[in-house]
């Protein structure tokens, strides 16, 4: 951004900005950095403080000493392990199923032309924009009643189990998985399917033997995104679960926030535990994660 004469040039040939401007810009970056780092450092520090210390001084100071006691307390004295298990039981199948559904629909919409194909595609991907509130009441009612045929109970009411969340997340997730996979598969070399069909392969083997192996990067992107979103979701478990046996970790944290006997330090420890899976996923798959988020804004 330098315009001054005689500015230094970096190894990429880009000029360093003059010092006074650099000072202002660094100040801005530094201020933003504080705003972003402070809350995260705050939680981490609180999670290792003793409750006595927090009662005396609040949470915003350097801990007098570090203890892992809060993590042990949370693990042993609250249903946190159960909440975590429930979160995994929702997130893993819902992620896998929404990606599988996207694979099927992506293949159909990228390889075939049929009546109303485009309209159907638009309806599915518009699902990305639907506020969940617009489906909330009917789904709440649906899962509160058993499914009966001629008075014979086919499926019991699924309210307060993990299954409704799996079904809902997988169905809503189809919007983004179908969109990205259809676009990805459309960009694969054309004629792959035709050549395989001529060789006598059926569509199922074309899809799972040829197209899916080529689509692994897109699948990785979707798996990381879906995992993060579903893991972090709060509205559906809030509405569709009541007992400790069915609550996910996010609903669990929220429920314990309302109880006075759960101390700040324990809440912080729980927040750290709850965030570890998505942070690990992010660190390991950072490249895919960012690629997924940015697929809309980066022009090929």
């Amino acid at each position: 951004m330098a315009s001054a004469q005689g500015a230094t040039v970096d190894e990429k040939g880009r000029r360093e900005r003059p010092l006074h401007r650099s000072f202002v810009l660094h100040g801005f970056i530094l201020a933003m950095l504080v705003i972003y780092a402070a809350p995260i450092i705050g939680v981490l520090m609180t999670s290792v403080m003793s409750n006595a210390e927090i009662t005396a001084r609040g949470v915003w100071h350097i801990p007098e000493g570090a203890t892992l006691g809060n993590f042990l307390d949370v693990w042993n004295d609250t249903p946190t392990p159960r909440y975590l298990l429930n979160s995994f039981m929702v997130t893993i199948p819902a992620t896998a199923l929404s990606v599988l559904g996207g694979v099927l629909l992506g293949y159909v919409f990228s390889q075939f032309r049929f009546p109303f194909a485009e309209l159907l595609f638009l309806v599915v991907i518009a699902g990305m924009f639907f506020p969940p509130q617009a489906m909330l009441i009917p789904l709440f009612r649906l899962f509160n009643s058993p499914v009966e045929i001629f008075g014979f109970q086919l499926i019991p009411a699924l309210y307060d189990t993990v299954y409704p969340m799996i079904l809902i997340h997988m169905s809503i997730g189809l919007a983004i998985t179908t969109l990205l996979l259809r676009n990805f598969m459309s960009a694969l070399p054309s004629g792959l399917r035709e050549a395989a069909i001529v060789d006598g392969a059926g569509d199922w083997s074309v899809l799972f033997r040829i197209i899916v192996p080529l689509s692994l990067p897109a699948l990785a992107v979707l798996a990381t995104l879906q995992f993060t979103w579903i893991w972090n979701d709060f509205l559906w478990p809030l509405v569709l679960t009541r007992s400790e046996e069915a609550k996910t970790i996010m609903a669990g944290i929220s429920a314990l926030q309302g109880q006075y006997n759960v101390a700040w330090a324990n809440q912080a420890a729980m927040a750290v535990i709850a965030s570890i899976p998505t942070i690990v996923i992010f660190i390991v798959f950072q490249r895919y994660f960012i690629a997924g988020l940015t697929m809309g804004s980066v022009k090929e």
């Binding site: 972003y36 609040g58 960012i290």
Partner: protein, 292 residues
């Protein structure tokens, strides 16, 4: 298309589409029907036409929630977009440690709004919260207040906590888009005598337009969906001063058991989302591509 292909095509599409129809489209339609009924969740819904909607228009708490959503939209479109863009452009320059900075800014998007809300509760906490502690440290005691409990500041406090995460998202989208801005173009302009501001407004901002469309669309949609952060921070209080449409819908449905009324709010919310969908798809088609 051969007959075998046609059967495969049908089988492949039928399963996922059936789930989408049962758990997304059908509930949407049912919501719209319920919005025309009086229903407490126990008895059967009773059809009352558009009464819920006319009641909404004279319900001060709904109007408050609607206005708050509008204010939220304005802030959501400006703060994350402007800060995210500025920060992205600055971090995209040769700068010592920019890689480390980026990681710090990326982290918030992996966090649940439940966790984000919890941290911000501690930042706004009246007695030992971060903001009040800093103000006291600076000798500005008269400025301290219960940020979330004060009717005058509660809404903006909630919105800013939400912006914290949304700005990180905008930053990531802009940083990725910046990698596609050709460096020669910026250099050529620089050689031709364009100063930093001209390079920014005449070259970088126009080239980032597709990214800006995505950033703003996501900000608007996330605002309409915005429930988690309000629930965790204030539950819409005090006196509905921080309530928004999503929160009021939840409150009327699951606290007041006005399910028909709640469905009417949900339908209004859906109507707003549809406007976004239409605008966005037109925009996307104009530039001959869809999101992705």
């Amino acid at each position: 298309m051969t007959r075998g292909s046609r059967i495969s095509l049908f089988l492949m599409a039928a399963g996922p589409l059936a789930f989408f129809a049962i758990f997304v489209l059908w509930p949407l339609a049912q919501s719209m029907y319920y919005s025309l009924t009086d229903w407490n969740g126990l008895s059967d819904p009773e059809f009352i036409g558009l009464d819920n909607f006319s009641e909404l228009l004279s319900d001060p708490n709904f109007i408050r929630s609607f206005e708050n959503t509008a204010i939220w939209l304005i802030v959501a479109v400006t703060i994350p977009t402007v800060l995210g863009l500025l920060l992205a452009v600055l971090l995209d320059r040769p700068l010592r440690g920019s890689r480390l900075y980026k990681s710090a800014f990326y982290l918030p998007i992996t966090l649940s709004l439940v966790v984000v809300g919890q941290v911000w509760t501690w930042i706004y906490q009246p007695n030992w919260g971060l903001i009040n502690s800093v103000l006291e440290g600076l000798g500005l005691d008269q400025l301290t207040r219960a940020w979330l409990g004060d009717p005058g500041t509660t809404l903006i406090a909630v919105i800013l906590a939400w912006c914290w995460q949304q700005t990180a998202l905008a930053l990531i989208l802009y940083l990725a888009a910046l990698t596609t801005v050709p460096q020669d173009l910026v250099e050529a302009a620089s050689i031709d005598g364009a100063n930093a501001r001209q390079q920014f407004t005449r070259i970088i901002v126009p080239l980032l337009r597709p990214a800006t469309v995505v950033v703003i669309t996501l900000a608007v949609i996330n605002t309409l969906k915005g429930f988690d952060i309000v629930f965790v921070l204030t539950k819409g209080g005090p006196f509905y001063m921080s309530s928004n449409l999503a929160m009021y819908m939840y409150e009327q449905t699951f606290r007041a058991y006005h399910l028909g009324y709640g469905a009417a709010i949900a339908t209004a919310l859906f109507g707003l989302a549809i406007i976004v969908v239409v605008v966005y798809f037109r925009q996307a088609r104009a530039s001959e591509r869809l999101y992705g």
